[in-house]
Symmetry: D2
Subunit: 391 residues, 4 copies
Amino acid sequence: MRYATTALPVLTLTTGPVDAYPAVLRGLASPVLYDYDPAFQTTYQRVCETLKSVVRSETVPVLLHGEPVLALEAAAASLIGPGDVVLNLVSGVYAKGFEGWAARSGAEIVELAVPYDSVIEPSAVAEALRQRPDVTIVAACHHDTPSGTVNPIDEIGAVVARHGALFLVDTVSSFGGMPVDAASCRADMFITGPNKCLGCPPALSILGVSERSWAKMAATATAPRDSILSILDWRDAWRADRPFPFTPSVAEVNGLEAALDLYIAEGPDAVWARHALTAKACRAGILAMGLSLWPREERFASPTCTAVRTPVGIDEAALRAEIRARYGVVLSSGRGETLGRLTRIGHMGPTAQPIHAVTAVAAFGGALAALGHAVDVGRGVAAALAAIDAG
Amino acid sequence: MRYATTALPVLTLTTGPVDAYPAVLRGLASPVLYDYDPAFQTTYQRVCETLKSVVRSETVPVLLHGEPVLALEAAAASLIGPGDVVLNLVSGVYAKGFEGWAARSGAEIVELAVPYDSVIEPSAVAEALRQRPDVTIVAACHHDTPSGTVNPIDEIGAVVARHGALFLVDTVSSFGGMPVDAASCRADMFITGPNKCLGCPPALSILGVSERSWAKMAATATAPRDSILSILDWRDAWRADRPFPFTPSVAEVNGLEAALDLYIAEGPDAVWARHALTAKACRAGILAMGLSLWPREERFASPTCTAVRTPVGIDEAALRAEIRARYGVVLSSGRGETLGRLTRIGHMGPTAQPIHAVTAVAAFGGALAALGHAVDVGRGVAAALAAIDAG
Amino acid sequence: MRYATTALPVLTLTTGPVDAYPAVLRGLASPVLYDYDPAFQTTYQRVCETLKSVVRSETVPVLLHGEPVLALEAAAASLIGPGDVVLNLVSGVYAKGFEGWAARSGAEIVELAVPYDSVIEPSAVAEALRQRPDVTIVAACHHDTPSGTVNPIDEIGAVVARHGALFLVDTVSSFGGMPVDAASCRADMFITGPNKCLGCPPALSILGVSERSWAKMAATATAPRDSILSILDWRDAWRADRPFPFTPSVAEVNGLEAALDLYIAEGPDAVWARHALTAKACRAGILAMGLSLWPREERFASPTCTAVRTPVGIDEAALRAEIRARYGVVLSSGRGETLGRLTRIGHMGPTAQPIHAVTAVAAFGGALAALGHAVDVGRGVAAALAAIDAG
Amino acid sequence: MRYATTALPVLTLTTGPVDAYPAVLRGLASPVLYDYDPAFQTTYQRVCETLKSVVRSETVPVLLHGEPVLALEAAAASLIGPGDVVLNLVSGVYAKGFEGWAARSGAEIVELAVPYDSVIEPSAVAEALRQRPDVTIVAACHHDTPSGTVNPIDEIGAVVARHGALFLVDTVSSFGGMPVDAASCRADMFITGPNKCLGCPPALSILGVSERSWAKMAATATAPRDSILSILDWRDAWRADRPFPFTPSVAEVNGLEAALDLYIAEGPDAVWARHALTAKACRAGILAMGLSLWPREERFASPTCTAVRTPVGIDEAALRAEIRARYGVVLSSGRGETLGRLTRIGHMGPTAQPIHAVTAVAAFGGALAALGHAVDVGRGVAAALAAIDAG
């Protein structure tokens, strides 16, 4: 039997959009209130205040009403001005992609790049800042999802803090799945979203903004106003007694509220442990089958995504198609430079369950064998299980 | 008894966000698929092709993943360039608001304005175009929601077509609730959304684009690319075999699919008749209580919204608060120039039910009386019922 | 326009099945767990213990997995044996219907009956018990829904208690909508369900059982065991560490959990006030239109249902059909003896909203007029509103 | 990490209640209509007529509003009378359990029993009927779930048909998951439910009744009337123009409608193939780990459930608890005689996915190892995958 491409898959183990928690789906199905209904305004304020406690930002986070690419573009447009010098830390496709938005603001871009299977060393950041003391903003991507690698963001943040530049951090695919927040990495602009490890659908962005960032945006003449790209317009929108610049995505806010309830009820520590153990089991299984991780060193690998290097002779797209047709399991491709060179198994939100690592390893190995690249699936699964048992 | 401001209201009769159809809420709760899962790509293509048939646009409509203010800003940025002369037809707050986005592109803005309780006459448009034959783009808002007035958009479109300018039309709060589409008004850029008369939550925009508009945008150097504001990036995204520029709002697309199924099953003619009769009954009830409509002439009034002029001596915000506290009914305020001067009763999507007009009239009259402005509620309700019976 | 009979109505103002609260619908959509999964067993116990606190029964209530006719038949079969003398208090169709089940157990049935538009006086019960001191069980229906009348059950319970008979009470359509519970009426077998004033769909029964009733059932040789009709089998099933006699209706239990959360959050007093005011407004409106209530005296009328006597010359079924076709509003017919003679407007759970009384009155009056029985709808609505305002 | 017993599990692979299809959960969340609303009556009729085509019964199936134990008890009470001789075919706990209900009707019960790890041979039935030509009713359980064994029901039905007795068949946990229906096995009373392979929650029963059975029930004086146990009362209730004997479970009927849509859209053949392959893979994996199936011969094993014999020295309850705590996977215990002696892995409805067999095998093996009974999990998973690949 083969799963039809038009039929629902059995298991979506991707890096986003990710499967949503059942309670989030039910939250999305809540009555749609008028945005100026006090019941909704109260909900909105509560959601934002709860976000403040989990994001640990200096000020109440801003919700923007589009998936996090909106937040990244908006942050670049709002925070960066013509006189800025931006140090962009590039260890993957997403960090590199930020350059385009940053450059639009007229700033000078300085790049510190490493190969896309490696990570940024804090010492290299320190050195870069020593060479360019005029850097005003440092931009980093914590988990560069297309590579499945995680930069040591707290340590980098400490370096940036010593230098004094503003620190803009993309934690879209790491926040909620591992211990990172605006305080831990001293971010001035902490950009994330509910659509990865919090288990919501894509449609919202979360921005944790420091007081310094608010001041910088207010002073930046080119910072958007009266625009979907404006962050400044939303500064006080979290308050129940303040207007929204435009209509918020009511249903998605309801979904986010449910996600936060789950996150707090399970406890961040427990959630992170679940992500970490799933990733550990997945890596163990993949390696035991004789396959390679994309990250050059296993310690670079993300707890929210396992990027598997595509074996020589295998067509990556065909491999994923086979996994879906044969087992009903959906995985993610690479992006840009990593497209066709790796497959990503997501461990995010509801899919960060150790047993799913076993399933993913089995499906991966089974499909590889079907494409003529025999691996010892049994060994892989046994290793994944052993990792869980040791967990 | 008083309804708590934090409790769900009984009935949301607003002009948006509107109550969603139950089937739309269930659609939102569907499994969240990976955007590159072929099952989702197929759904996405089907939704867009269905939209083409209901919007009657020349090309397959573009979905943008934010509520329609995104589409309006994006359309201004994409279609309008430095050399353009834009004739902006202003009969209300929303049309006036478009000027800001249009002007950013460097174009010259020519305004044809009428008082906000009136509508644009096609002959005035013809005259304006005669005076400025160099106009390249005409912009109009079909139903300027903050006024509850509807411009004769098909007739205006015919005038614009004779002149040859591109016609950009905002039908966000009219499409789906009355007979208007891209073909009927000859729009080159037909901007609407599922969040009003189609009964979805706010989070998506729909753009029906003519071939001429695609050519103009392609030729406009300032048209956004690699941006949330880009329309061009999404041109082929409806095709199941093409990539998305960024992650679409999966859950909202699922909700839209359900809304389109409902719209087609009930039949647009029947849906429009339902909206029209609700509005007629509502106007009859309001007038019979001795109150005034905001639109100068009843024939200007929208079938999707009844704007009621606030009686002298009444605080409009207090009136709506009283209606909610006393009856659990939520209505919309005015916006900008109309704020505090009118209250809007929405007839959109699931709330466009004639009996809700009766409820709205009763609640409106009851709360007015409670605030010391006695009206004959019985007369109002009887008139509303009579209008339904005549309907 | 006419609403199609196959289309969803706008408003269901019936006496059951009633519209469910949105949160209950979402509860029904929760994941279906294995009944022996500890997570479900824990939920089940919590639901039952919560029921104990709201039903105020001596022991933890029993959930039976069918709508309350199951509970009534099961209670008759379990509690009543061949040697019993049952005093059945009959003020309506449902109380009368209980006789059949009671008689099956071989007991002697003594009837105290009043016309179906009246109620049972406690003094009459005292007198009946004086005449038949050998009565072992008294059965009563608190709110005989087909008549919309409410017996003074607490006072009757006091009389029964003085006598010493077991008291079996059907509060299916009153519990949760007015102040009544097992303690208030001293019920030994308090039979209700979540499908009326708690706002759940029909599928479950709730039985509050006194210690005396448990002893009586245990001693009744004919009490069902190994049967869908067994209550005894379920005695300890509420405990997380005990087995279920058969598979419980998992989804309905999830819905009930949501309903109880709502009931407690709003507060029983507030819920009852909402029901009472809705009924009061409804009665005021009906009477002001010159129509008659079915209950002989207004003080007999239920706060959860307004039974309107069908005017002479009107076909009751045609009237309801007209109300649905014209306004999309669904009301309930009578049953048995009251069928065709009255129409019932339900005020139960989510529909117990004063503004819905206005809507019901308007729709009722409008349809009557359409059928040739002109009434002053305006007067009716004004009276309903005045009742709310006085509320 | 350990999964909390109060937290939702990751995967419910039980034999019922089973996980529901997402579309069924959304169906349950549909508006609850009045049962006499024509829109609901139309839905009810359509559901029953659709059931007729999939059950292939002579007459339109009856829905009873309780899980299938209600149907079994009701069928025994309705079809069997004092003069009957019932041949009860017993190959497991459930068939044996039917004896109690059958005997209540006053019939003589003749038993043909085999060990609970075996199945009934058609020739044995023929022989039993030869010995007792006075048998009027033959009762069988197709898939005796507590044993995971499937009787050759079509062949048995042919034997019964030749004899002329009425044939009562329980296919609760097989129908919808393998090729069996009322026509294939010539059942006169075909009892099943939507709560297993159709992927609904437990709360409804489906009875496919032959004309002969209707005649027999009508002629049976003891057949229940005015009772939850009555089948006769519901004979015409499927018709939109006929009353319901009591209130149907509206939400569950909505869920069933969604389940039937899915079943027909996927196609019964495809659904059955999916179940068969899942079971085959599961058996292969279990056997390859050196474990034993409960069924004496593999060909007796059900395609909807894999019953695994508990290894010596292992506490079965502890094993399932470990599987849940360690992996979040929920399996079923045995029942009655098989309790503690086997564990059941369900392949029913949404869980009948081959990849879930891999997961189940891995979890089973992993937990066994954790309890000190080492097995070669890798070998098991490889065998399961190989079975899928061969599938």
